[in-house]
Structures are given as structure tokens and as C-alpha cells.
Symmetry: D2
Subunit: 348 residues, 4 copies
């Protein structure tokens, strides 16, 4: 009953099996292996993009920070939502890898940026006293578990171009967003103006694997040096690449995400129907943000559920579903919540 | 017949089996898992050191650069051999993670530092124009495949203390060195003055796992922030920790290293006995550096051997043995070398 | 009639004369000169603080960024007003010199921080995912030309201590603030909890001279290395020190500031009395922020006044008075404004 | 009798007078003043180069580090002499401003680089494990007080181009070199392949003024941001620019250098003729490096001479002459040396 995060899980069977198989035999190091080459081909096919460049790395923080390092000079501004993972959960990794660029944090409903908020913030280009507009970063799905539609991404893509900004997408839960939207990966990325996507896989069936995908290859020129220089070029490259290969094969990534999303939807609907329980955001991907009465919250913990408190302020809770969330666990949570609420109604 | 590097290998069976077993079930992320806790306990026992602090990371470059970041201010000097991996093979990662500290490269036989070379280089303390003496870094086994004896380490440890320097050991092939020396891990590390050891495991039976070990815990204070901020805190911490746990259990690490060393010794002795072939350095660990006549070198490649040229200048070769090097492959190489040399003798 | 900034001025006579006198003869370089030593003594007397350490530098941006580099690790958070010079006018210098620390920008009336805003922002201490609370920075006088009272500074000092934060004061216009408050320098700095003051002099009678003053000497340990390493240790140290010495002698600094403040007060009162003209902030130091009808604004420019537009949004103006602002110029501006407003009233 | 350095001097009369004159009146800040514009025009004429871009800064360390920051990525290698000021006297400023580039230190007689030493060091281009060849830096006059001839610079310029490297010249004593060579400034800079020159003025008649001169304007694109972001854009720009303007007018810079060189030549010849005294390097500019018997050295100090010991090892001395070195002081030093040597001969 662990809903603390989607990263409490192990690898899904397809990924683990592929990893075991790939372990045998010798392979040249540092990405000069067959798996790494195949992952790029697979991504080109998946995104319907002939020239994208993809680089596996082990963590989402590395993926984001390395991507941003290619998009901004040290004196650049990166516009992002104030709740963005890059802004609040990476201990300043983007600042570290960019040489000190400034994250300009913006407001927005459902932890999503808007062209309007962007327009109000961008300025100072060419004036040496000010950091220079360089990039926008959005998170798909957002830190509130909500999803940018292709139109919303495209509007931001257009705004980014109009302001002369690169558009970065933190896709730690990209699979969940694509599964929720039912669109092609291309539609919500490069066709909508995304220049670089950090495609997460760790949370959705891998052990440690993300792909930094440059839809404009010229932006990747310095990436290999940034990656090596920060210790993120693993020697046994097949470790990362084979995870991604298996993850992207046979819709494993989407099947995993669909399951997680379905579990979250069920959990969200169920909690919303419990008296006194409110959802903070629409449940569009695999996360449920709620405000539960204290007795309900305590009852869930007593029933063995693990989840984080305080994600959106005191008295709020986050539940994350994953590729292997057990439907029975969801029902157990909902039953415990319903029972606690009923108890509360009887004994106020 | 791949002698290019010890990183062309997969994980050894014990490590792979442990990884498969650890994949099941939920575990709290970011190192708050049972495997990570156990690895530290195991290392404390192995090194006979009650208070060491150990942090798993995925790559040797990350391990070294993060360790050094704890040992020097941005205006510090880190003294190392001019052939040191940190100096020539990490694309400036130490400079990146330390905020721009200077690696002062020194000469030394067999790619080993000496107290004398150190004494000649250290200076300028307290003078604001000069970078400030901060740390010494040595590689065990060295970049020439040679091994520092406990006495040699201790002499450097004493020199380091005398100069007010921390002592860092890049132990990418620490297992090979310990196996070669037949000493306890403690004897060649903290008992000899080593403050921080980067204990390699990737090259010797793991897929991607290194442990940064602080024998003086107070030096590790900022390590967790450095690690997170550089994207090296993996979310599914068991991935790294379980590799290390299995690696260190039941002398797996030493058995792997002993095999690799034995293979290298056999290969080195064999090549040395081939007319026209010279060894550049004593074969003390798992690497063989040689100068082979061109016909011999070509014959080896024709026989299917993979190895790197030019490691110590034009006309030189490096052969690396690993935990799984096939003794028959070694014999095949030696036979091919012998035959080529004999042909050359006949048809000059 | 140049009201663009107080940095359009030259040095005041006392400072220039001292500079000329100091030019003669040889003096040891890099601050090992008599002037530099005397400046520190003078500041200790002025601030009634026996052990403060003072370091001259040439620019305010350098002063602030170097000071902050002593107060935060690269993974630290520096809380400041969103209008703070360090946040919007230094092209990321604080990020550069701190190794990438994060400026957390906060709201506040009159461009002043409050303990409440600070309390709402501080968090995450000890949690490795978040940047770590490190320092607060306030500007005296503020970017809105307003002044923190000793009580206001003391409240922030207390809040800073409660949150475990160092307190930095950007005193680019410290003289104007002290002159306005009529308090001792100690009362609004270290006695109120300020740890480091960047005492501006350039804008108020010098050519290029600021003093970074550490009231807690232990915080200055790394300052000399930061300063040298960023090219801010000038070789002919007397150049900076003699300016500061003359500036601080005989109340030159306060006399200069009193004049500038008086001119701004007169200008502000005058403009406020012109129909259609509004002041955006109380005029407490030497800056006047106004919203003038366009005909008035144009009339001022036609009369030869130089000033900046848009400082607080479209349709706003900033007028800065200095040590040498000519009272007649102020009257000329007011006359022009009054005439333009009267014209507008006649011909709407 | 201060021969410690050329930076113990004040400004020469022409520069001081110009500074006094420029102090009057208002001038727009941050280099938007008439002096700054005129300096660039003057430099274009002096160097016979229509499109060079020149930026005044206050210190030589800033000039060098900012220039290099435009010539190398953080993962670049900058080749320089092991005695280079950038390598040993700037506390790592080049590493700081370049984001951690590596200075690769090379040997060479008279502290001068050679194409041969360069060729032996350059390598690894395109290989992600190695720092990438980016720039060469030479010092004119060298740290041994010697001068690169136009042919020597041109040979290095050609080598730099052949290796794909930018060529930087640290011209802290450029005037002394040009005066010694009797060539045009263009001949030893851009016509010989220099891309960026840091033209020193502080040591030779100014108080604090250097010009970073880009002969290839496209290399300067990021300079203004680097300069601002490191606190080196002074607000009252005329302070720096007027010094440079006066320095470059009427051959002041060359007259000052000629005097300093002549004094050094006389001092060098005189010391060389004293029994037991040796020169370490030819005296080609304004510095004399000697090895004096201890009694001679002590006699000079007793006579009031100030100079540094140990510049090229124990028992060595450095004497620096400047624009205002008094010929009588030189004779006094020589007389004292001669007398001490004679005493020594009598009483061995």
C-alpha cells in the first residue's frame, strides 16, 4: 500500500528481463553499444522525427539540468512554474549545471504555465544588467498531476518562439500524460514547439533511465561534454539503454502509464466521494492531491497506506499510483477512508 | 577476446542475482532503503572502521569529482599524477564540481606520486594570489597498472598531513590492488592516512556502482548536497546499493579481482617472453601495458583480440583483464603473438 | 539637469583632492598600504565595532556578490525582495560568485522585506532536495527609495537568526538612509543584526569605491580568496582606500547624502503638488518615483532634464538626486512641470 | 628605492591630469560616456584595425579571466607557460570565470611558449573524456622579463590556428615589450595571429586600467555579460576610460615604457658586472631577475632598496623598474652592490 511515490517501485518485468539478457557478453563502453544505438532509432520512430538526438542518463535531475545547460548561458533566465521540480526539488542542479542561470518562477493554475504569465515576466533582452531570456520549462504531467493539452503546449511553444526562448519539457511523467491525452508523442512535443524533452522512465517501469531528447539536433552540440563532465556518462551504457529499449517496446511504457492513471482516477473518484474529502486538482495522470480530514488521514495510515503529507500546504496529501499499483490496495484505501468518514459522522 | 577495458563486461552472477531479487516490492527512495543502510554497515566491518560514511553513486567520475568537491574550496589545489584519471579522463569533472579548483599535475614513475614530487609542488599557503594547497589524489591501482604498497600510501599520507592536505584515493581498481597486495582494506586506506576512498565496483563485477567512503565523517558534511545538486542521488537507491552489497559479500570483489589479476599476470608474462615485445610497466594488477612490434599487434587483432592503442604513446598497447576473462582467450592471444613473432623472425 | 542616477556624477572635491594627494610616491600593492589600513580603523570607529573587517572593492555588484559568496554555499537560498538590485540588476552576479545559489524573491511594500514574507518562504532545511536557507539580503535605502528603520532592521535580524540565516545589507545608498534616519551607523546595522554591510560610496561622492564590512569577522574567512579569484583585488590599493578614507572623514559622506536627500525631498514635494502628478513611494532618501502625465514628462525632457522611464512599470519615472544636485535644477524641473500641468488644464 | 613591482607607483602626470579634468560634470554610466567611445577609436587607430572591440576593466586578473571566458567552454583546455600569471598568480580566476576550464601548463625557456611545446600537449579533440583544446595564452613581456619577437608570436599564431586554438596575449607589460621591440602594436598582435590582447596600463602609468581588445569582434559577443556578471562593469566608466585615453595619447605609454626599460637595462648591466652577481634572464623589458650573493642582497636592503626574493627559486631576486624609476636610485643600488661585492672580496 505504498502511494508515497512512483519511484518506490522496482522495474517492470519486461525491463528487468531485458536487463538480464543484456548483461551477457562484452559490449563497448560509454554508449558505443548496440542498445544505445537502437534506443535512438526507436525514439525517432516513436516521435516520427528523423533527426532527433537522444541521450540516456540515470536520473531525472541530471536529465533536466543537463538539458537546460544546453539551452541557456550562465547569464540566462529560465522561466518555469514556481512549483516546478527544477525549481524546488533539485537542490539547485539547474543552477549548478548551467553555471548559475536564474530560474524565474511564475504562477499558474494546476502548476501549469501560461503564455500570459510568460509574457509578463520576459524582458531585459540585450540589457547587460539583466539576465537574458533563454528558455521556458514546463512539466508534463505537471507537479499538480495535471496535463498540458497539445493546444496548451503549442500556445506556449508559440509564445516561446515569439520571445526567442527555447522550450524544455520535463517529462518525468510524460508517459502518464500521453496515456491520458491519447495523442501521439509528437503532437505534444516537437510539433507543438518543444525543443528538448526529458523523457522519464524511472518512475514508470525502469530502475534508473531517462532520455534527453533533442528535437533540434543543433542544440545538443555541447551535451556530450556536459554529460561527461558531470559524471553522467555511464561506462556500461547498455545498463541505461536496454531499460529504455524494453520500456519503449510493445507499448510497455503506455500500458504501465495507463494502469497507473486508471488507479489514480479510481482513487481520486473514490476519495472525492468520501464526505469531507476534497481533491485539490483534477486527477489527470497518476497523482492524487487531496485534503483529507485528519481522522481519515490517520485511518489510512492505520490501514497501512504510505503517502506524503503537506505537498500543497498543511493538511494536504499526495497519493501516487504506479505501473504495479494493486487495485485491491486502492479499494482498501477507499474502504478505510469511507469507514473513517462514517465513524466521524456518527461521533462528531 | 575483448581486452579493451574491464568496463566491457556485464555484472557478475552474484551481483546480477542480487539485483533481480532486490527488484521485487516497494522501497523508499533516495537511499532511504534497507540495502543502502546495509552497505554502509558492511563497509564499516570490511574496513574495520566504526564511523565511516559511505555513499553509493553510479560512476567513477562522479565519485571522484564529488569526493574532491568535499576536500577543496574553489581556490584550492589538488595535487595528482599527470596521468591521473581525474586529470586526463574526466573532461574536467573535478574542476566542474569543485567550482574550479586547480589540478596540479606531477610526474612519477609507474604513474605513482611520491612525497618528494609533492613537496616540490606544494606552496603558497595563505598567499591570496595563489591557489591554496587542499588535497592530494592518488590512484590505486595506478594508471600504469601498478600498486601503491601500504608503506607508500602511508608515506604520502604523512606528507599530506605535513602539508595540511587531505588525501583522496581513486580506487577504481581498488579490489585489484588489495588482491595484489594481500593486505586488509584498512591497511592501505585510513590506517595509511587516506581520508576519502572512491571504491570502484563497476569495473570488477557490477553494472554501475561506486562507493564514496569518508573515513573522516566530518569531511562528508556537504556530500549529500553536492550529490543531489549534480543529479547523482538516484531515486531507486536499491539499484546501486544492492550491487555493492552483493559485490562485497563472500569476497566476491576479491575473487573477481584475483581472477582478473591472474589473467593479467599470465598475459604479461607471456607477452614479455615473446621476442620483440616489451612491457612498459610491471603487471601488478589487472592491466598490461606493452609495446608490441606492429606485426604482432596486427596478428592479435586478426585473431580477434580487442585492445586500445597509444595509451602511453605511439606504438604502445593496453590490455585489461576482468572478472570474467577467459583463460583460453589469454592463451589464444599469446599463441597468436608467439606465432607472429616467429614469422617475423623467419621473414624479416 | 541629469537626474538619471546618482552615478552620473564625478567625485566630490574632498575625495578628488585626497586621491590626487595619495597618488604621489610608492606604496606596496594589493592592500598592503597605509590607506587601506586606515580605512578599516576609521570604519571601526564609525561603527563603534572593534573587530569588524572591511574590504574595499570597486563596484557595488562586486561588493554584493562577494559578500553573498561568503554567506551561502552553492546550494543555498538567499531571500530578497523581488525588486532587489541583486535579483534584477546584476546579471546574475550573485549566482556566479556563490557557485549557483538561488535568490528567492519575495514581495513587500516599498521594496522592503518583512519578517512575515520571510517566514512564509523559508523551509526545507536539511532536506537534500531543496536549496538550503542561508541568507537574507535587504537594501538600505530600498529600491523604492524608502528606508528601513532600526526597528524594522532589528525585526528582520531577529527573524534571520530564528531561521538560521545570515543578514546581508546592500548599502548602495546607506549614507542616504543614515542621513534620513538620523541614527548612528551601528544602530541600523550590527546592533540590529546585520552580519555584512556593503557600504556604497560610488554613488555619493566617490568614483569607484565600496566597502564590504563584516561585523562577524569569522564570516570573512574566505573573502580574500573570493576577491582575488574574481579579479577584484586591485593592485594599487590606495586608489580605492583613499576614496573611502576621504569619504568617511569629516562627515563628507553624510553631508553629501543630506544634500541629495534634501534635493529629492524638495523635488518630490514639488512634483506631488503638481496637478496630475503622483508619487509612487514616500521620498525618504534621494530618489523620487513618480507617475507624471505624458505632457509633463515631455515638458521636463524639453527643459533638459534627464531621467529614466518605466522603473515601476509603464508611465512611471525615476529621478535621482546626488551630492552635487543643483537646487536651481530642481526648481527648473518643478517650474517646467507646473507650467506643463497648467497648460494641460487650460487646453485639455 | 622601491623595485618591488611596477604597481607600487601612482599614476603618471598625464593620466592624473586627465582624470582630474574628466571628473567634472555629469556623464552617463556603464560605459555610455564619451571617454569610453574615444578609447575604442584611439585603439583602432593605434592598432590599425577598423573593427576591434575594446573594453576597459580595472585589473589585469579581470582582463585575463574575462578574455579567456570568451575563448573556451568550461570543458576547454588553455595552454600556457607554467610560470604564466594566469596559471600561478591569479588564484584560479581563469578557472572561475571560464566555469572550470583547465590550464595546461607547459615548459619553455625565458617563460616563453614554443610551437613545439604546444604541439606536444594538444590532443583529444572530439573525445569526450578529455578537455577540449580551446586557446593558447602567452604573456608579453614574459614572466621572465623577456619579449616575444613578431616572428615568435607569428609562429605561435600559426600553430594556434593549425590546432584550432584561439590566441590570447596577456599584455600586462605590453608597452614595455613594444618599446623594446620597436615595432608597431599591430605587428606583434593581430598581424601575428593574436585574437585577444589584454593591454595593461596599470603598471605603466595608470592607477587601475586595462583594456581587453578583441581583434576578432565575433569573439566578444558574450564579453559584456561576463563583465557585468562578475562585477567588472564600473558605473562611472569615465574613471577607467579617461586613464586609457591619456595613457595612449602622445606616446605617453611608450615613453613611460622606454624609461622603465632603460632603467632596467642599466640596472641589469650594472648588476651583471658586479662580481658574483648573475642575471637569470636577458633583460629585455623592465624587469631584472638576478641571483645575488647574500651579502650583496643584504647590502641593497640596508641601502633602502625594496625588491622581492625567490621569484625563480631560493636565492633569486626580482627588480622591477617603472615609468618613474629614479636613475639615481639605480645608481645607488649599483654602488651598494659593487661596494658589498668588493667588501666580500676583501673579507671572504
Amino acid at each position: 500500500m505504498n502511494f508515497a511515490s512512483d519511484n518506490v517501485t522496482g522495474a517492470c518485468p519486461a525491463v528487468l528481463d531485458a536487463l538480464i539478457a543484456a548483461n551477457a557478453g562484452a559490449a563497448m563502453p560509454y554508449g558505443n553499444d548496440a542498445w544505445t544505438a537502437r534506443v535512438q532509432q526507436r525514439l525517432r520512430a516513436l516521435f516520427a522525427h528523423d533527426s532527433l538526438l537522444a541521450f540516456p542518463v540515470a536520473t531525472g535531475t541530471a536529465a533536466n539540468a543537463l538539458a537546460l545547460a544546453c539551452l541557456t548561458p550562465p547569464w540566462g533566465a529560465v522561466y518555469c512554474h514556481r512549483e516546478a521540480h527544477i525549481n524546488v526539488d533539485e537542490c539547485g542542479a539547474p543552477e549548478a549545471f548551467t553555471g548559475g542561470a536564474k530560474l524565474v518562477s511564475l504562477p499558474g493554475e494546476q502548476a501549469k504555465l501560461t503564455p500570459k504569465a510568460l509574457a509578463e515576466a520576459v524582458g531585459g533582452r540585450g540589457v547587460v544588467h539583466h539576465v537574458q531570456p533563454a528558455a521556458v520549462s514546463i512539466t508534463q504531467a505537471s507537479e499538480a498531476g495535471c496535463v498540458y493539452t497539445p493546444d496548451e503546449v503549442a500556445a506556449l511553444g508559440e509564445a516561446a518562439r515569439a520571445h526567442g526562448l527555447h522550450l524544455h519539457m520535463d517529462g518525468a511523467r510524460f508517459a502518464n500524460a500521453v496515456a491520458a491525452l491519447g495523442v501521439s508523442p509528437a503532437e505534444v512535443t516537437w510539433k507543438a514547439g518543444v525543443d528538448v524533452l526529458c523523457l522519464g522512465a524511472t518512475k514508470n517501469g525502469c530502475l534508473a533511465a531517462e532520455a534527453v531528447i533533442f528535437f533540434r539536433p543543433e542544440l545538443a552540440e555541447s551535451f556530450p561534454f556536459h554529460r561527461k563532465r558531470t559524471g553522467h556518462l555511464v561506462s556500461k551504457g547498455r545498463l541505461l539503454a536496454v531499460q529504455l529499449e524494453a520500456y519503449l517496446a510493445d507499448e510497455v511504457w503506455l500500458d504501465n502509464a495507463r494502469h497507473a492513471n486508471a488507479m489514480a482516477r479510481r482513487l481520486g473518484e473514490g476519495l472525492a466521494s468520501v464526505p469531507g474529502c476534497d481533491l485539490l486538482h483534477p486527477v489527470e495522470a497518476n497523482e492524487v492531491f487531496a485534503r483529507l480530514p485528519q481522522p481519515v488521514s490517520e485511518a489510512l495510515r492505520a490501514a497501512g497506506a504510505v503517502f506524503y503529507d503537506g505537498h500543497f500546504g498543511a493538511g494536504t496529501q499526495r497519493f501516487v499510483c504506479a505501473w504495479n499499483t494493486d487495485p485491491d490496495d486502492v479499494e482498501r484505501v477507499l474502504n478505510a477512508a469511507g469507514a473513517a468518514a462514517a465513524d466521524g459522522a456518527r461521533d462528531p
